[in-house]
């Protein structure tokens, strides 16, 4: 009995790894590079805030209210005499903490629910689908406000508000991606081989939707930062006197004719950070897109 040997069959080149592709993108696209560097810097600033900030962000001084920028106060002071630069530096912590944790938790929870719904179909999917639709029907800001108002201020309450706002969006994408992969022959092959459903979800579905989820995470980080700022601006977010870019703007609004520096600085900080995360998201999507297309 002869074994038929498949020799000399064409071998296709290994496509470069994700890390390699992303690094190449960084090197060739200056805009992305600047965005990544900025974000890296921002993270360092947030982590090492106590070491970097020249002054105590909470220290008030009646004698030094509304000062313009000077050597002691690079961005001046606000109506309570607090150093604006230090407040901006510490404010980055609030934005980044919330901005990173909320989307990650939302992605985790939302994806799991979306995958379960998309994979099992039937009544499970109907329930999941309706739940998603229900939560999606609330505008993000409104949902954030309602939850924050109901639960009161506080870091974890705010996280909860953002997670509830974002999770359905992740669930929807996870569900849609799962539905399309569910019908792929290789999933059917795994079922035919006798693999258990949870194993199939983790081993076959998850790696194939991870790309889309990763892109979404980067995009929602910038939304989370904006949302935190908005809620803080409305007084529902980070509790004063702890600085957050949002409540710096709020205080600054009351003091518009005293000094414009707090609002302008905080505004810039938010804008640059959101822009940087958006650019990062674009780069992530472009790197993952050829993968997704495969």
């Amino acid at each position: 009995m002869a074994i038929t040997i498949a020799s000399d069959e064409p071998e296709y080149a290994r496509s470069p790894s994700l890390v390699a592709t992303f690094s190449r993108r960084l090197l060739t696209d200056p805009v992305t590079l600047v965005a990544v560097l900025y974000l890296g810097l921002l993270c360092l600033v947030a982590i090492f805030a106590p070491l970097i900030a020249p002054n105590d962000p909470l220290a008030q001084s009646i004698l030094q209210i509304n000062l313009p920028p000077s050597r002691d106060h690079w961005l001046g002071t606000d109506q309570f005499g607090r150093d604006v630069l230090s407040r901006i530096i510490y404010g980055s912590r609030a934005s980044l903490e919330l901005g990173l944790i909320s989307p990650l938790l939302a992605a985790l929870g939302g994806s799991i629910i979306g995958m379960i719904g998309g994979y099992f179909g039937g009544i499970v999917d109907r329930v999941v689908g309706r739940l998603i639709d229900l939560l999606l029907s609330f505008p993000i800001l409104l949902l954030g406000i309602i939850v924050a108002a109901a639960l009161g201020p506080g870091f974890w309450n705010l996280v909860m508000a953002l997670v509830l706002a974002f999770a359905p969006r992740f669930a929807r994408i996870a569900r849609a991606s799962t539905l399309s992969i569910r019908n792929e022959p290789f999933v059917e092959a795994a079922v035919a081989a006798g693999v258990r459903h949870p194993t199939i979800i983790v081993r076959h579905i998850l790696p194939n939707i991870a790309g889309s989820i990763a892109v979404l995470i980067t995009l929602w980080i910038s939304s989370a930062i904006q949302l935190e700022a908005t809620l803080s601006f409305l007084g529902l977010g980070t509790e004063p006197p702890r600085p957050s870019w949002g409540n710096i703007i709020r205080d600054g609004l009351n003091n518009l004719f005293g000094s414009a520096w707090p609002i302008v600085s905080a505004g810039f900080a938010i804008t640059l950070t959101v822009l940087a995360f958006n650019l990062l998201g674009d780069a992530v999507r472009d790197v993952l897109d050829p993968e997704l297309k495969e």
């Binding site: 038929t4 498949a6 020799s7 000399d8 069959e9 064409p10 071998e11």
Partner: protein, 330 residues
């Protein structure tokens, strides 16, 4: 009109970066005479589809480009025409039928509109006459209730019917040549029989020349008068259909014919050609089939065999052909 209808001479099409191009089609030459049916047969990677696209200058550029040779149709050199003139040729003088009728038909236009659009592009006649012409074509290709189906959308037709619609669209301006690229591959075998019978009927009724491309020898045998066998971008054998099937001269053609499962044959094991088709970038100086050839000679790995006569109306590019060394010396 004397002379062949279509003359392809040393056509070469390359893909990829300019510094390191890959030749999908390499010095391909063949002709199609008026009213004749020529079949191009080959497996994937043979370059047969790219050849047909090149004739109508439909090769996507980038990444592909025609890098050599000439294509003459009814005396005119197609490659030297300005690109803007090509749409006139397509449809009016040369019709094309593709493999996947669903993706070649616009899903949001009725088929009646699509056929009349084909007419509109090439002839200035009244709307009523256009419609009449379209209905005539639908009837000709065997669509029942043409007046009703005129208003239907592609998704309301079965695969076989859609392919007939494609044939109607290709023929509505009575082109002299129709290029059919794997026209029946996506169809069931009984529907395929219908479509092939239709193509033969059209040829005998209108005298249209057909260039049919397929990987299926049975389809080729059903339609073609002459056959061109392609391998790895080159023509390895061409000739009259009977000579090719009865006396295949090239080892690849022989191997391929032997490995086809046949209805009347009861062997348990199928013959298989050892090895596999070389990847497009990995071709060498000698004959592309050499690594897999059971009849190879020392010269085969180093020099490309010339196309030479091996019988009446039968040519092959193989060093085992006694005519080859004569042609090479010329």
């Amino acid at each position: 009109m004397t002379g062949p209808l279509l003359e392809v001479e040393a056509l070469s099409v390359a893909f990829g970066p300019k510094l390191n191009p890959v030749r999908a089609v390499d010095a391909v030459s063949f002709t199609v005479n008026a009213g004749e049916a020529v079949g191009i047969v080959g497996e994937s990677g043979s370059g047969k589809s790219v050849t047909s696209l090149a004739i109508l200058r439909l090769v996507p550029d980038p990444p592909g480009r025609i890098v050599g040779g000439r294509i003459r149709f009814a005396g005119a050199d197609l490659l030297s025409l300005p690109p803007a003139r090509m749409p006139e040729i397509r449809g009016r003088d040369i019709g094309m039928i593709f493999q996947e009728p669903m993706s070649s038909l616009n899903p949001v236009m009725t088929i009646g509109d699509q056929i009349t659009e084909a007419v509109m592009l090439h002839e200035r006649i009244s709307a009523r006459r256009r419609r009449a012409l379209a209905l005539e074509m639908l009837d000709l290709v065997g669509i029942p209730n043409p007046a009703e189906r005129f208003l239907s959308y592609p998704h309301q037709f079965s695969g076989g019917m859609r392919q007939r619609v494609m044939i109607a669209m290709a023929l509505v301006c009575r082109p002299k040549l129709v290029i059919a690229d794997e026209p029946t591959t996506a169809l069931d075998v009984t529907i395929q029989a219908q479509v092939l019978a239709l193509m033969n009927r059209i040829r005998s009724t209108f005298g249209t020349a057909i260039l049919i491309i397929s990987h299926d020898f049975g389809v080729i045998a059903e339609v073609a008068d002459r056959v061109v066998v392609m391998y790895a971008g080159r023509i390895v054998e061409q000739g009259d259909v009977r000579s090719i099937f009865r006396h295949p001269a090239h080892p690849y053609t022989r191997g391929l014919l032997q490995s086809i499962p046949r209805l009347e044959d009861d062997r348990r094991r199928l013959y298989q050609i050892p090895g596999s088709v070389p990847a497009p970038g990995a071709r060498s100086a000698g004959c592309p089939f050499c690594p897999r050839c059971p009849d190879r000679l020392p010269i085969c790995a180093n020099a490309m065999p010339p196309m030479a006569e091996v019988g009446p109306s039968h040519h092959t590019a193989c060093w085992t052909n006694p005519g080859a060394s004569v042609a090479g010396a010329q």
